[in-house]
């Protein structure tokens, strides 16, 4: 859905989705119950809670972090998080490197860990500028990247889904895993923000 120049809301996507869904049901490809179950499953993920748990565990457990960076899908399953057939790649921010995730072709996103994608992630502006002028884009998100840090952009063009492991903020030594998880934002796991500790 997008606002038009006249201030109206263009609902054509919604009508198209409904028409397509009803046709699939009418032709017996899907049932309404299957559609409802899938929508429920996605909403039940409560936003980015699973992603937050993964990041917090990686911050406090070096062996887990190593496994996560080597084979992210297996490491996430260790935490009892059901991710289906998701092929996950976790990329680690360091003092020298920052990572940013985009899908220029459509809107591939690790929904199993982050919940529904924000509208901006699917916008043409984000999808094109994340590869073309990522530093200017990040600055508009309020993240002015140190010019000495390398920026790695990851375009999810095929079967992998990506999650950024953000830097653990200073001043959080000794924090419990659950408290750390609450600091981790969805945006930091896409790479458009860093995690900050409360002042």
């Amino acid at each position: 859905m997008s606002a038009t120049a006249h201030g109206h809301v263009d609902r054509s996507d919604e009508f198209l989705e409904r028409a397509f869904r009803e046709l699939l049901i009418e032709r017996g490809v899907l049932t309404q119950a299957e559609v409802d179950a899938r929508v429920e499953l996605m909403y039940a993920r409560e936003g980015a809670a699973f992603g937050q748990r993964v990041v917090a565990r990686a911050w406090i457990d070096d062996a887990f972090r190593t496994r996560l960076l080597g084979d992210a899908s297996s490491a996430v399953r260790e935490l009892g998080i059901e991710i289906g057939a998701l092929k996950l790649v976790v990329v680690e921010n360091t003092p020298q490197i920052h990572n940013l995730i985009v899908c220029t072709l459509c809107s591939c996103y690790p929904r199993m860990l982050l919940g529904m994608a924000p509208d901006w992630y699917k916008s043409v502006g984000y999808r094109s500028r994340a590869v073309r002028e990522p530093r200017a884009l990040l600055a508009e998100f309020g993240l002015v990247l140190d010019p000495k840090r390398t920026l790695r952009v990851h375009d999810s063009t095929a079967d992998m889904r990506y999650l950024v492991l953000p830097l653990r903020p200073a001043g959080t030594d000794g924090w419990a895993e659950a408290a750390l998880a609450l600091l981790v934002t969805r945006d930091s796991m896409i790479g458009v923000a860093e995690v900050v500790a409360p002042a």
Partner: protein, 96 residues
Amino acid sequence: MTPRFAPGTHVRVAEGEPSGHVRTPYYIRGRHGIVERVCGAFRNPEELAYGRRDGPPVPLYRVRFVQSDVWPDYGGRPGDTLDVELYEHWLEEVTP
């Protein structure tokens, strides 16, 4: 299908404009990069999109490109990179 390219191999992305469900972005066609990792083998989306599920799985790679090679006027840091997932039939080995 055994992957033809190991991590570190220099590759070039094919040009060309086949129609259909192609997952190779236009901006990366014809560019040179280095294989970062082999992601496994997956059904070819160019076939899958038409319901053809009997083809062999195709090796998929993450290829790392230097931003200034992709965009000659790139304004960021010289070492900035762009990783793209590409299927083997889009790649050919080149001499660095």
